[in-house]
Amino acid sequence: MAKPILRVENIHKKFKGTEVLKGLSLTVYEGEVVVIIGPSGTGKSTLLRCINRLTEPDSGDVYLEEQKIEPGKSNFSYIRQQIGMVFQDFNLFNHLTALQNVAIGPIKVKKMDKKKAYDLAMKELARVGLAEKAANYPAELSGGQKQRVAIARALAMDPKIMLFDEPTSALDPELIGEVLEVMKDLANAGMTMVVVSHEMGFAREAADRIVFLENGVVAEMGSPEKIFNNPEKERTREFISKITRLNSVAKGREVL
């Protein structure tokens, strides 16, 4: 078995008295693509944010390659750099061009030489197919292009793992495909990925493991094969069939 990259242990998180995560544990192995699904409000995004500490969990630990992630510790920023994150609403830096968006992490955080950082940024933009948009500002890009730049920005930090927080849910249906293509390429290239998404086509094709989250804990997990065709729990089956139906109806696309 591959070695574990990320270990989430017994995470609890309450918001205003409501417990969103109730002792959630999850291990992600090197090169693995884990797709997290589950009803809304079940703590999927919160889980991702607790991993890189954009949200502070009430209790529980997260380890990246055996290094405990702790704000305030001297290696905190260093560990965070190694966890790439892609947000639902892109969060590209509005005052910077696509190229600058990708280069600013290496320049400011890794203290990389500017020339080197821009070369790297150009390479990462080319990787997501947007080299020709390098000089454009976020407002001049389509949603799909923005999200691809955001992926390039995360890749430029050379992360050990990438977290995707519903990367396609803010996109118009016709723009979803280009982002999923980039993500599939990444998965094929061996990137370790944790993806919160209800794109069942992507899950089926690219996931090594699907985790069904409900009520703040892992309700069921397994290979796409098992989760889609032969889930243990009735709730999982219901949820999958509902989402699959919604996917095909709402987006008018063929579901893989």
């Binding site: 947000f87 400011k108 001049e140 955001a150």
Partner: protein, 225 residues
């Protein structure tokens, strides 16, 4: 008509000296206001506990008292504590402190208008909160603050006229002196007003040019994205 022009030509050298002093006060006060106001905005926005309380207290105290009281306190009050200031420095300090509170609020408004996701994305890259503020939040906020800040410039040039109350020889004070010599209040004040309008129009135009120069596609106060 010719008479009026001739009168203007005769008083212009005097008024020009006054204008120079007014602009000196404006620039000094605006810079002082910036140097105090920006840290106050950061302290009020990101500070906790006593740091935040200090910034809030400072801003509300300054905004809650008349500028004339602040001016007199600094020029007539401080000597009681052994601090004697010349007229011009006293006026610059009073105007600058007053401006700092308003500038702080402009900066704070601009900072708060930046989407929270910008800071989150910066931190996710590994930036510290401080790096995120310096590299991501402030460059955006400072662009957004230009329109309200240009209002402050225009207010300030006009507010410098209160400095005549402590006998700083700025534009308004020169006008007053000329009136006492020529006994022509209407004409004199007319020309004083004309000078203010011309100078302020030029400043507004310059700010407009700066704003356009720094503009980024799709990134304005009104329509973000």
């Amino acid at each position: 008509m010719i008479d009026h022009i001739q009168y203007f030509i005769s008083i212009w050298p005097e008024l020009f000296k006054g204008l120079a002093v007014s602009l000196e006060l404006s620039v000094g006060a605006l810079l002082l206001g910036l140097v105090i106001g920006l840290p106050m905005a950061l302290m009020r926005t990101y500070g906790k506990g006593i740091v935040k309380a200090f910034a809030v207290g400072y801003i509300e105290l300054i905004r809650g008292t008349p500028m004339i009281v602040q001016l007199f306190l600094i020029y007539y009050g401080l000597p009681d504590l052994g601090i004697l200031l010349d007229r011009v420095p006293a006026a610059i300090i009073a105007l600058g402190i007053n401006s700092s509170a308003y500038q702080a609020e402009y900066f704070r408004g601009a900072i708060l208008s930046i989407d929270e996701g910008q800071g989150l994305a910066a931190q996710a890259l590994g930036m510290t909160k401080r790096q995120a503020i310096l590299n991501i939040i402030l460059p955006q906020a400072l662009r957004l603050v230009i329109p309200p800040w240009s209002n402050e410039v225009i207010y300030m040039v006009k507010y410098t006229s209160v400095a005549f109350l402590i006998a700083v020889p700025e534009l308004m004070a020169r006008g007053k002196m000329i009136i006492s010599q020529t006994f022509k209040p209407l004409e004199t004040l007319f020309w004083v007003g004309v000078i203010y309008i011309i100078v302020l129009s030029i400043i507004a135009k310059v700010v407009d040019i700066i704003e356009k120069k720094l503009a980024i596609p799709g990134f304005q106060m009104s329509g973000e994205d």
